[in-house]
Symmetry: D2
Subunit: 309 residues, 4 copies
């Protein structure tokens, strides 16, 4: 993948960079807090294999919650729609991404959707493989294929740090194990989950993944089908209804494209039929979304009329 | 508005009509339960002022929750975006449409979105007018204008029946009055709200309203602007994220168009840039949506690729 | 009723009075906020018709939530145990006294106990009488009888002020009306409820009411039965498990007697077989209990071993 | 400890035994479900070292939730009142004993009281000891001392079975670990907790423990102090406000003594200054309390006026 710097885009990046001052870098694990708060990079990947960027494209970041949508795409291929949605719901929620209460009050207990932690843990639990190792290899291969980069791997320090401290996710797992939503060894699941969250890439690679979704599952270079069309569409739908944490509704109104953010400051954006977008800006707003990244998308959508609504 | 019967559409209607048997007509007030469970009618209004229909187009029904999206469009014009969304949120919710708990647990107390009862009551409270009468006249005029029919009025029996029994909505109102989300006399607000829910029309008229949204606010006959473009888009966004009660997420995946349903069995559908759809099928599924209407839309979206995703 | 000043008691009052500085007088209606924050008076009514006091016994205050236990005693006589507890539960709750969420999540909807607002409103709705006037007369007569004072009435300003602003209580009422826990006209019920909360007395009169409960329902002067023994016991049990708002558990541990507080700063205390206690100290702690009153009872229970545990 | 059969008591046991038919033996682990549903035994231990019994006194049962009150007594001695209640609340709750939602909605996260699972897990986490082994030895020694029986041990099969399946308790633990309410290794804590729940004894031994609480901490045979008086009182207070799961309020009204039940069908009862009561009747009502045991206590309290209210 080659990508050219673009003056217009750089102008917008320069314009919104200062808003990072109002945000806050995630610091719940030391590894995440080491980044420069003012970093901001963006890549836009076009259908015709053209890509433009602005900001420091070399910056790498971990996917964190962005991985939820990729894992969903893989699990839907592994298990089929009925299996997955018998165990995880399709509805957006007004509760925080890490909430456990709704699991208790819903009868039967079922995570509301695959974009909240409970749902994503359940979906990761569905990935096929004889061993944790085999599951992990399959995940990495799938993501590498979407990003067209076989070197893609994960940040060991971030993964280990999360593994040591993710007590809330363990609480969600055990609660769901009690209610037979998930199965098997929880520590093994936690290893797989924290590794997938720690998958590392730059904004180019993320933009290319967005382009696959923009093309309903086709490789933007070769035209090869990487994700079945109906699964690509399901993923995009969740990105609209619950991709941006508790600000998904507001984002749908203000930007209006399928997108998924992560607490590392990454945003995966999709302009259907047209572009994949990858953004990295680690300063977060109070909902956990990249504050400069959101602003950038607001400007882009106004200027280029990206909204699907 | 003229509308022609269409054989293809009639075939689909005949195909799905029997599914009504699995549904249940709303019976919480006697006036709603009087309809024929097997009724099913649909109209599709095209851009070029062509309209096709199937089923008994003469059937009238009350808007019920469909009115929420129309009132929102009017309130946004009356008060502006900031005023409205300072008082009502933009986020979808996993809670039932008539839930009160989230009002208590959210700080500050604020309905999550304008498509749940709490939010719609707050939005109705924002309609401008010196008196309940004046507010009502403005609502009726606005809806009549969208439907291009000045005779549109409301079903007095349904309105009165709801007014007498809507204790839960009063509870929501008083709770929000305590928290200063709404103001003024609650009984007056209840009168206005129950009348707007009881606005009566047929599927043609509803399809025409859908066409206005499909054209981002333009009159599909005259091209005149009836709703500002940014407001039409906001309304469509809410129709996607929370238009179909607690099945909005599933509907987005299975159908994928902006839509709003009512407990009377009506569905307002929007195929952006293309069609407005009006459906009436009073047998409801367990989420409160027209069971045959949903099925009809699933078939249409598959056949004609309506989905925005 | 005659009552003598007591030096020991006065000493304790003087000792704890300064703690009122850390509290806050209720100010949600103007009428309540007019009192002197440092007021503190206490009366202890003994079995043998002896009464001692300390502080300014002339201070009158409204019962507020203290009335809940008196109304419960009357409703149990009016309707019997089964009728009352079919509609209102017996269990303490960790939720705030004015919470509505549990009404929604409990199936069937039922207030958890008669000491929270929802339960007390439902209990007031059970008082017998052909009209609001007759019900009110019966309440006033019953309370006057317990206090041995037929002049006891209510503070009109407080009652009216609460009537105008009690939107949350109306929300609770309408919610319960929807679920058929309460019946009839809500505004009439609100009038009755706000008047009973505004019943006015001094600490002597309240202590005498406590003595009736201490003697399991007997008039401490005449020995006449004023409340059936099993009802007096039920009332005392609720005073232990949920008489002091969300600090009932802590109060049971630290003081250990049946007691009921009100937001006016009054506390009704009962030392079984021995004393009735009336306290007025309007500065409240963050749970809504009289801060000096609680401290006073902690000292009394340590010195005189009042605890029933 | 010697104990004599008593004809009066046997008559009551025979009278209530049949009510077990309406109950249901706990079956969430196989080991608990093996008992005879119609078993019923009771022992009443008097101050003067006299003990009477009825039913088959040889029946042994595991303490289950009864252990919560004993562990609390030990933790309060180990850590002091402030330490314990900084981490666990004193308030009763209307939520189920195994609920997790309130941990999420309370700020800061804190179990409401030591009688629900979350609170009991946190209290067990406070027991002093260099190792799990040392902590367990201290627990066993303390319980053996209260029961005056050094042979008291635990049911390995029950403990292991619970350890394998207690996913909900692990969820509670990890949630509290996230919020720093508990510390250290969760699996070690789970081992300790499941063993203490599996401590096994008969109704005599349980009655003797009750007698220690009845005498405010004194050994009923030797008069030696086994539990400090203020701690014994705190334990009895929790037994009143939240000892019988979600039926604590009703039990306080209908029976009116400090008591703690377990899902094995055991009940520990305390008649202050007078008796300790041990009951075993494994058929449970829908709240998880021994159905025949509750009935037995209702009859005893009526006949002998046990109520503290």
């Amino acid at each position: 993948m080659t990508c050219e710097s673009n003056a217009d885009l750089q102008e917008i990046v320069d314009e919104v960079r200062s808003i990072a001052e109002e945000g806050k870098v995630a610091d719940y694990i030391p590894a995440l807090s080491k980044v420069d708060k003012n970093d901001l990079s963006v890549a836009i990947y076009e259908r015709n294999n053209k890509c433009i960027f602005a900001g420091d494209y070399k910056n790498k970041f971990t996917l964190q919650s962005i991985s939820k949508v990729l894992i969903l795409a893989l699990a839907l291929q592994d298990r089929g729609i009925d299996y997955v949605f018998d165990r995880v719901g399709m509805e957006p929620t007004g509760d925080p991404f890490n909430s456990i209460s709704k699991l208790e009050t819903s009868i039967p207990s079922k995570p509301l959707n695959p974009m909240i932690n409970a749902g994503a843990l359940a979906v990761t639990n569905m990935i096929k493989g004889e061993s944790e190792r085999e599951k992990w290899d399959r995940i990495l291969q799938f993501v590498g294929c979407l990003a067209n980069n076989k070197q893609i791997s994960y940040d060991l320090e971030v993964a280990n740090s999360e593994l040591e401290t993710a007590f809330l996710n363990r609480a969600l797992c055990y609660f769901m194990k009690q209610h037979k939503v998930i199965h098997g060894d929880i520590e093994e699941l936690m290893m797989l989950y924290t590794k997938q969250c720690a998958i590392e890439m730059n904004c180019f690679q993320l933009a290319r993944i967005g382009a696959v979704f923009a093309l309903n599952g086709l490789d933007p270079e070769t035209g090869e089908r990487l994700i079945p069309i109906h699964i690509a569409r399901i993923c995009k739908t969740f990105m609209v209804t619950c991709g941006m944490y508790n600000a998904s509704g507001e984002f749908a109104i203000k930007v209006g494209i399928p997108a998924k953010s992560g607490v590392s400051g990454g945003i995966l954006g999709v302009v259907p039929e047209k572009y994949g977008i990858g953004i990295f800006g680690p300063a977060l707003d109070n909902k956990g979304n990249s504050i400069a990244g959101i602003k950038l998308l607001e400007i882009l959508t106004k200027r280029y009329n990206f909204s699907i609504f």
